[in-house]
């Protein structure tokens, strides 16, 4: 709870800074990570229902912005929008999580293979920047944003390949994985996903396809062990 408060406080401080791009009314791109973080930190609980008005009040923006953020989250399958129902946060079960991870493995093997073809320096820099931010969040104990940034790393890697349909499909798997990760309080905190991310960037930069595919595979192995073990423990309680 303290954590969430201090995080909220920091966000407000950040919002008050006159950063370029942060001037004027908040946009969909500003509000999207804040709502996703709120979901990941369970300030919006899984399986809870909420209203557009309620979220608009909390984040101080219009309903139309909230609607578009929810539309994006619903493309990513994080939020379920159904006619005549309030929006709801998705709660994938163990079998669904297993299938999501399998689909991720197939998709990301192909994607990382493609990313090695001719990576642009600007993209590599952005990947390293995301890893650095993730590391900083972990050091500050901000688990929600760290999970989201970790997901953004995978999505940026996917967007570098130029295969839009594959990248889009991954776009619906990664946020669901983030959701599953956030839901299970992972015991082993010494996993250091960001170090594995850095090794992947190096392999991609060197155009070393076999190495990149192998590292991605291992990275997803670790993710799977963590998630399925955590889910298994939760289920047996």
């Amino acid at each position: 709870m303290n954590n969430a408060m201090s995080h909220q406080h920091q966000r407000n401080v950040l919002a008050a800074l006159p950063l370029p791009g942060a001037i004027g009314k908040p946009s969909v791109d500003d509000i999207y990570p804040r709502i996703f973080d709120a979901i990941l930190e369970q300030r919006i609980a899984p399986a809870s229902r909420f209203t557009e008005e309620g979220l608009g009040d909390v984040f101080g923006v219009s309903r139309s912005i909230i609607r578009r953020v929810l539309a994006r989250l619903s493309h990513q399958q994080v939020v379920i929008l159904r006619p005549n129902h309030r929006p709801q946060v998705a709660a994938p079960d163990l079998e669904q999580t297993r299938q999501i991870l399998h689909a991720r493995r197939l998709t990301e093997q192909t994607l990382v293979h493609l990313a090695c073809k001719a990576p642009k320096p600007r993209d590599l820099e952005h990947l390293r920047d995301l890893v650095a931010q993730e590391q900083q969040c972990l050091e500050r104990g901000e688990r929600g944003p760290a999970i989201r940034l970790s997901g953004e790393f995978h999505l940026h890697l996917a967007s570098m390949t130029g295969n839009a349909p594959l990248a889009r499909f991954l776009g619906s798997l990664v946020p669901l994985t983030s959701l599953a990760l956030a839901r299970h309080e992972i015991k082993s905190r010494r996993h250091c996903a960001w170090q594995e991310h850095l090794a992947i960037v190096d392999a991609v930069e060197n155009g070393n396809r076999e190495e990149a595919v192998r590292l991605m595979d291992e990275h997803l192995d670790h993710l799977e062990q963590k998630l399925l073990m955590a889910a298994g423990t939760a289920a047996s309680k």
Partner: protein, 233 residues
């Protein structure tokens, strides 16, 4: 086996793709319910549900007594729903090769004998069309087979990808029609997939689908750029 929510989702995607293509502009009214339902080949209740989803997404608004008006939207919001627009045949084949063998393996595990029967009927349509030299009907049956097969997947995470590859197949329907010499091969490869599914042999079904997509690439003159060990089992 197609649940109504699958129908609604596919209608939502169709309408969203039409909006993204600019078939209707902001301020336009959608055609009347009866006409639109007929065009899309669905029931009016399904259409109504789909319109409510689009309304929730902020793409349209229902005006009671008047109809459904298209709202001004950020084009990129819509395009998130149809990444296929900027995709090449190679991109789509890569997507298919990456995922369809896996999905068909899942289908093989859960399919009922009635559903297998439906798939075999569609392949029979394809064979009849082939024997009658009706390339149009044969290409349509090929696309229908693909749609029926993947509609059987129970996990909603695959629905968007299935929708995308179906749309891509329809867009490349000319390629299918204009290469009648390949239609017999396509039919044989699909029959091999169904035989494996019928035997509930998941690994074999995956392998046959992989072979089909690789052959499809060769027929189109596309060499797929894929990891060697991506065997997808």
């Amino acid at each position: 086996m197609i649940s109504s929510s699958t129908v609604v989702n596919s209608v939502v995607e169709k309408l969203r793709a039409a909006l993204a293509r600019g078939q209707w502009r902001s301020g336009d009214m959608l055609p009347g319910q009866r006409e639109l339902a007929e065009q899309l080949g669905i029931s009016r209740p399904s259409l109504r549900e789909a319109v409510i989803v689009l309304e929730t997404l902020g793409l349209v608004r229902s005006m009671p007594g008047k109809g459904v008006v298209v709202l001004e939207t950020n084009a990129s919001d819509i395009h998130e729903g149809s990444a296929i627009a900027g995709a090449s045949l190679e991109d789509v084949l890569q997507l298919r090769y990456t995922l369809e063998p896996f999905i068909v393996g899942l289908v093989a595990q859960s399919i009922s004998s009635k559903e297998v029967g439906q798939l075999r009927l569609t392949l029979m349509d394809m064979r009849e069309a082939l024997e009658a030299n009706d390339n149009d009907a044969c290409a349509s049956a090929y696309i229908a087979f693909h749609e029926e097969l993947f509609a059987l997947t129970s996990n909603p995470i695959f629905h968007s990808v299935v929708q995308q590859t179906s749309n891509a197949l329809k867009q490349s329907a000319d390629v299918l029609r204009n290469s009648p010499e390949h239609l017999a091969e396509r039919l044989e490869e699909n029959e091999a997939v169904v035989r494996a599914i019928r035997g509930k042999n998941s690994a074999q079904a995956s392998a046959e689908m992989r072979r089909h997509i690789l052959r499809e690439g060769q027929r189109m003159g596309i060499e797929l750029n894929i990891p060697d060990d991506n065997l997808g089992t």
